[in-house]
């Protein structure tokens, strides 16, 4: 591990002015590096753009009602034109509008999955790495078993057992995802455990709880942040795969994977219901990956993976 940032915990657990200035300086420099890196700029812009579009969806789309209960069979399969930028689908709905609303679902998927799996994985990883011994062995073996199954298969099995809704898909993915963060944090914890400043806290008599959250966790943060960004992309990718296989949202909502799956039947003559959502999802995932990569360079972190 290179260039760890040492964040000393003070006895009163308060940030002194010097520490504030140090932090501001660090953030300023990081931002500078971020700005100069074309990869992170591109990634960040893409992600920001999509998030804005998704939030403002009802206002920026030409036919917001097409995202709901709407049919117009007489206008089905219109090719891309001035009135329908991405054309219409088999129900006669504007594809551009539905793609933007589809982004909402993709982003929500990422938020929920990571919101569940990251805290879970981090806590378990901290515990395993810090306490070591039998606790670590048990936790690590459990993660091994979960990792032995391709996530898609596991998610499929869980999803297919119940009503195939997007929520079940999210839960299914989250049930596997925590393992990555767990392993990551465990590894970092183990190496930091032996550092001097942690030893110092021990000597002072800080409780385990304080040591974990004041000394160890902050040092994991950069790696976790980078991983979350990269994960967002991957989670959306897996989610798209699941909905492509038919385990996604219910009509009339459509997430991007489902749109591609429905549209694939009409290839090659009616290519637009498939091609535009495909590029849309590629765009978003690419954005997250670029951003994550840029962040990693910026924070100079090894996540021990891709």
């Amino acid at each position: 591990m290179k260039n760890k940032q040492r964040v000393l915990s003070s006895v009163n657990s308060e940030f002194t002015t010097t520490q504030w200035m140090v932090l501001k300086d660090k953030v300023g420099r990081a931002w500078y590096r971020f700005r100069r890196n074309p990869i992170s700029i591109t990634g960040g812009s893409i992600v920001l753009l999509v998030i804005l579009l998704a939030i403002l969806a009802p206002y920026v789309t030409p036919y917001p009602q097409h995202a709901g209960a709407f049919t117009d069979f007489l206008n089905a399969f219109q090719a891309p034109s001035k009135s329908y930028w991405f054309g219409t689908d088999e129900i006669g709905r504007d594809i551009f509008t539905r793609v933007i609303f589809g982004y909402r679902i993709s982003l929500m998927l990422a938020v929920i999955v990571l919101g569940i799996s990251v805290p879970l994985g981090v806590i378990l990883g901290l515990t395993a790495g810090y306490f070591g011994g039998i606790i670590e062995t048990i936790i690590m073996r459990i993660t091994d078993v979960f990792l032995a199954i391709p996530p898609l298969l596991m998610a499929l099995a869980i999803c297919a057992a119940f009503t195939p809704t997007i929520e079940k898909a999210m839960l299914a993915i989250a049930s596997i995802w925590w393992t990555w963060h767990c392993r990551l944090v465990c590894g970092i914890t183990r190496s930091i455990k032996t550092e001097e400043f942690v030893q110092a806290s021990w000597v002072i008599g800080d409780s385990h709880f304080r040591i974990i959250f004041k000394d160890i966790l902050p040092n994991c943060m950069s790696a976790i942040i980078v991983k979350i960004t990269l994960d967002a992309g991957f989670v959306i990718l897996v989610g798209a795969g699941l909905s492509f296989l038919g385990l996604g949202t219910q009509p009339p909502k459509s997430d991007l994977g489902t749109m591609i799956s429905y549209g694939a039947q009409y290839l090659p003559t009616k290519w637009w219901p498939t091609v535009f959502p495909s590029f849309a999802i590629l765009f978003l995932i690419l954005g997250f990956n670029l951003l994550g990569d840029g962040l990693r360079d910026m924070l100079d972190v090894e996540t021990g993976g891709i």
Binding site: A69, F70, T71, F73, L74, F77, E90, I91, A160, T163, P164, G246, Q250, P251, P252, Y262, A264, Q265, Y266, L267, P268, T269, K270
Partner: protein
Amino acid sequence: MKRFSILLVTLLVLLAGFGCVGQAAEQNILVMSVNQEFGTIDPARGSDYTELLAMYNIYSTLVFPDSAGVSQPKLAESWTASPDGLTYTFKLKKGVKFHDGSELTAEDVKFSMDRMLALRDGYSWLWSKIIKETTVEDSYTVTFHLSKPFGPFVSTLPLFSIVNKDTILAHKEPGEFGEFGDYGSHWLSVTETEDAGSGPYKLKAHDRGHKIVFERFPNYFEGWPHGDKSVDEVHIVLLHENATVKMMLRKGELSLVDHYRTYEDYQEMDSYPNAKAIAFDSSYIVAAKINTKIAPTDDIHIRRMLAWAFDYKMVTDVIRKGSPQARGVIASTIPGHNPRVFQYHYDLDKAREEMMLSKYYPNIPDVVITYPSGTEDRRKMALLLQESLTKIGVNLVIREEEWGRITELVTTVETTPNICITSQTPTYPDPDALLYAMYHSDAAGTWMSSEWLQNPIIDQLIDQERVTVDKEERMHIMNIIQQIIIEDCPDIFIDNMVVHNAMQNYVMGLTWRPIMSAWYYFHDLWFEK
């Protein structure tokens, strides 16, 4: 880098060279697409449309329906029924050969029925409570002894295939059936080149999950009226992707396309210069089956509201152009259809009126609708209904489900959704096939009976028609049943789905028969090249 690009170029050249694999086709080979695997080709076990397809071509049955659904003699030359309806005697044709050359006799018929009932699989339930015993009178006469009269008995016989007793016993393995061992089940489940049939085609190859191949049986007892133009080999290929199917048809790699593609696909395939699409008025009924026992659809006014709120014309004129709107539960192609049954039409005002008469008004609870995933047209129908209902203030919740899940949801009243859109075709060409399966209390708990009708009057009427042997009387009773059904409104009867098939222009002779897969009888076909 240089070495790499040289390698790449060489590879490409090799590809171009070796890619052209042609096949000299002196034989008439029919290549057909299906979208479902062949689970089993044991005729006593099969019940899916692909399994039946194999059965009708490899095996023969006593009778076989014609285009109007009337059972015509096939292996049986003639038959008689006793006046009390408890005994049916069949006289078999002489000189019918199995694929191994031996003759088909009454022994084989008895053996086949005993086997069917013993294995308790596939369609055995049709006869398990009805046939008491099968006896052989002489080599060409066999009698079925029934425990109670069963009006539609002869109509159900197309589902009963005759297997070669000697072949089966020659391949038997240890099993639970005493001297019959396992009745040859294991052999039939693993063989890829053999069968025990007497049908127009023999099994040539079975590449599970991919394709199955039949080859012509020259000594088929019905002969080959089209001589050289008949189909010599049939390759049935599993293809899910509609786009692939279309392309292969266009390129000439496919000869016949199944009926499970989208309506738009058939339009497109018809426009290809080398192909045509044909349509059959089928016996399929597409209905939105309403659960009559849970809120809010337990209220007849809500059900009628739904029937008035559906835009039938959008289906018959746009979504599936050419399909006639359904009139009652029995399609007009089945003998026994009642043409005077009331028919709803799209009228939001009437829908609103019914809604206001309902006990749930003004806060109508959500109505949940389900259909099997992968069915495009039914999704469109669900969306159509949802839009209409939104206009009158009712919320329709759409839940697309895997077929397996649907069959499981419908096993109890509480879990059956309010509405379930399915298409069904009678298993045998008699209205009883649908009436019993959909509305009789004994048939509750299946996807076909998700209405949970449980109406004692209907039950009684159905029981009556089943034991009535006189045709006229049966039809009369079934007409009454259809009237009562439409008044109780347990379904939105949408349309009688027109069945489309697409094929090369030179494929001729595909003949409609109104039971599942029976029109894929390749003996009918010939090539006009």
